[in-house]
């Protein structure tokens, strides 16, 4: 079991990272969007490995099925051919890259300093049946307020998006 876990983990991890790298470097935006989808699906897989079933589903349905579709629609509405012929990377790419690596280095240092300290507990033999319910429980009891706020946030975003995309009257 252990090895399956590990193998699956390596598979999803490599897939995620590769897709991510590819996404960031594509000239064609649609390709980039597709590779993002792949990354998200890999992430979903990671979630499942961590026995977060509800979030796995949410990730797939919401993130991939909603957000990425939205992205693709907008990509279509934007002038794709023109942007493909333009320069893709901006002037600060080197500095930005360096600094990002520095940042990564810092985090790396932090993780390395505490390597081996934290461990995941053993997985249960059965599929734990209560993840969704537990999430629901927590969501609708302890986290009721954030839940409501989140719904308002969605409402606001919806109205904002509608207003934004509206053509000027007349």
């Amino acid at each position: 079991m252990q090895t399956l876990n590990q193998a699956l983990f390596i598979f999803f991890a490599v897939l995620a990272v590769a897709s991510a790298i590819l996404m960031v470097t594509r000239r064609n935006i649609v390709h980039g969007a597709v590779f993002l989808i792949t990354t998200l699906l890999s992430t979903a897989g990671i979630f499942l490995l961590l026995q977060a079933e509800f979030l796995f589903i949410v990730q797939v349905i919401l993130y991939v099925g909603g957000i990425m579709v939205l992205f693709v629609f907008v990509i279509m509405l934007v002038n794709l051919d023109v942007s493909m012929r333009q320069v893709q990377f901006n002037r600060q790419w080197f500095v930005a890259g360096a600094l990002a690596l520095v940042l990564a280095g810092q985090f790396l240092f932090a993780i390395w300093a505490g390597r081996g300290a934290l461990r995941l507990p053993a997985m249960a033999n059965e599929i734990s049946p209560k993840n969704t319910e537990a999430v629901a429980d927590a969501l609708f009891s302890h986290y009721m307020l954030p839940f409501e706020i989140a719904s308002i946030l969605l409402l606001v975003a919806m109205i904002g998006a509608v207003v934004m995309a509206k053509r000027r009257a007349g």
Binding site: F9, A13, A16, V17, A20, I21, M23, V24, I29, L36, T39, L40, T43, I46, F47, L50, A52, F54, L55, V58, L62, Y63, I67, L70, F71, V74, L77, V78, N79, Q88, F89, N90, R91, Q92, W93, A96, G97, A100, L103, F107, L108, I111, L118, R119, L120, P121, A122, V135, D137, L139, Y143, A150, L153, L154, M158, G160, A161, V163, M164, A165
Partner: protein, 100 residues
């Protein structure tokens, strides 16, 4: 007993790639997508520690993050569309009206 380090390394890698993408690409749509990548990396982190502690708080928080990402993507794409209608460009370099 898998150490969490591997998951953290993964999360870090995705985060770094996302940061590089945001800072480096000119196309704003790619920038938005890179932001989604960053958020995902954070989600992975949350899930790992939620599993480690055995609570669902991390997962609930991750739900909220996803919700927020959705709203943000919707509004952001709306802005991009509006800007494209006005200026015919999706390049961040050419969106410098708010300079000094």
């Amino acid at each position: 007993m898998i150490p969490v380090d591997d998951y953290l390394f993964l999360s870090l890698a995705l985060f770094t790639i996302g940061v590089i993408g945001v800072l480096t690409r000119r196309n704003v749509i790619i920038m938005l997508m890179s932001i989604e990548l960053i958020l995902n990396a954070v989600n992975i982190n949350l899930m790992v520690f939620s599993r480690m502690w055995g609570t669902v708080d991390g997962q609930v928080f991750a739900i909220f993050i996803i919700t927020d990402a959705a709203a943000e993507a919707a509004v952001g794409l709306g802005i991009i569309l509006a800007f494209f209608h006005n200026r015919e460009t999706v390049l961040a370099d050419e969106m410098d009206i708010m300079k000094w």
